[in-house]
């Protein structure tokens, strides 16, 4: 139940954020902002509905909570995120090179700074975690 409550809070925050973006879109007369806001609202409301349905069925709730906390799922999630990190950094470096080739040195520089910041952050976290564990 704790996980479902936590997810409900997250979805509520996303819904409020969506409302905020939509309202900003209406005031600024920006269709893109409005669409993004509406998408946020729809997704969060659907998730909230799913979570409410789960609270009414004990077996489904148990399975859902298990799937959120189970060690294999965590392992897969951690492995996926580490792969995403490597792929992202690689793509950023490639994008920076392509931008440099086409003469967009400023944009290439920004992309390189982002990639560099990610690697530095990784190293800092690695040092912190290696001390902790």
């Amino acid at each position: 139940m704790k996980i479902i409550k936590k997810n409900l809070i997250y979805c509520g925050i996303i819904c409020v954020l969506g409302i905020g973006i939509s309202v900003a879109g209406v005031y600024m007369e920006d269709d893109l902002l409005k669409s993004i806001g509406i998408a946020f609202i729809i997704v969060s409301l659907l998730k909230i509905a799913q979570l409410f349905i789960l609270t009414r069925n004990d077996e489904r709730r148990r399975k859902y909570e298990l799937s959120m906390t189970e060690e294999r799922i965590k392992y897969i999630a951690s492995k996926s995120s580490s792969f995403v990190f490597y792929i992202t950094v690689f793509c950023e470096v490639m994008a920076a090179l392509i931008l440099l080739i086409f003469g967009h040195a400023f944009a290439a520089g920004i992309v390189c700074y982002v990639a560099g910041a990610q690697v530095v952050l990784y190293l800092v976290l690695y040092i912190i975690f290696s001390r902790k564990y």
Partner: protein
Amino acid sequence: MENNIAELRKERKITQEELAAAVSVTRQTIISIESGRYTASLPLAFKIAEFFEKSIEDIFVPGKTDNETTKNREDIK
């Protein structure tokens, strides 16, 4: 890491779903452990051993890959 969970389960006529519920994991995790695609963590290994009333060594045995790894490590030394 090899294991004989499937044999023990069949011996005691326990389904993957029942074992999964008993050790608080999903059935998919039991399938992955049994097939050797996923190695259970130490707490989970203890839970499984406790469920079958056996010691961890009776259920989990270092597989070929682990032996090869050990051999490689020794070669490096």
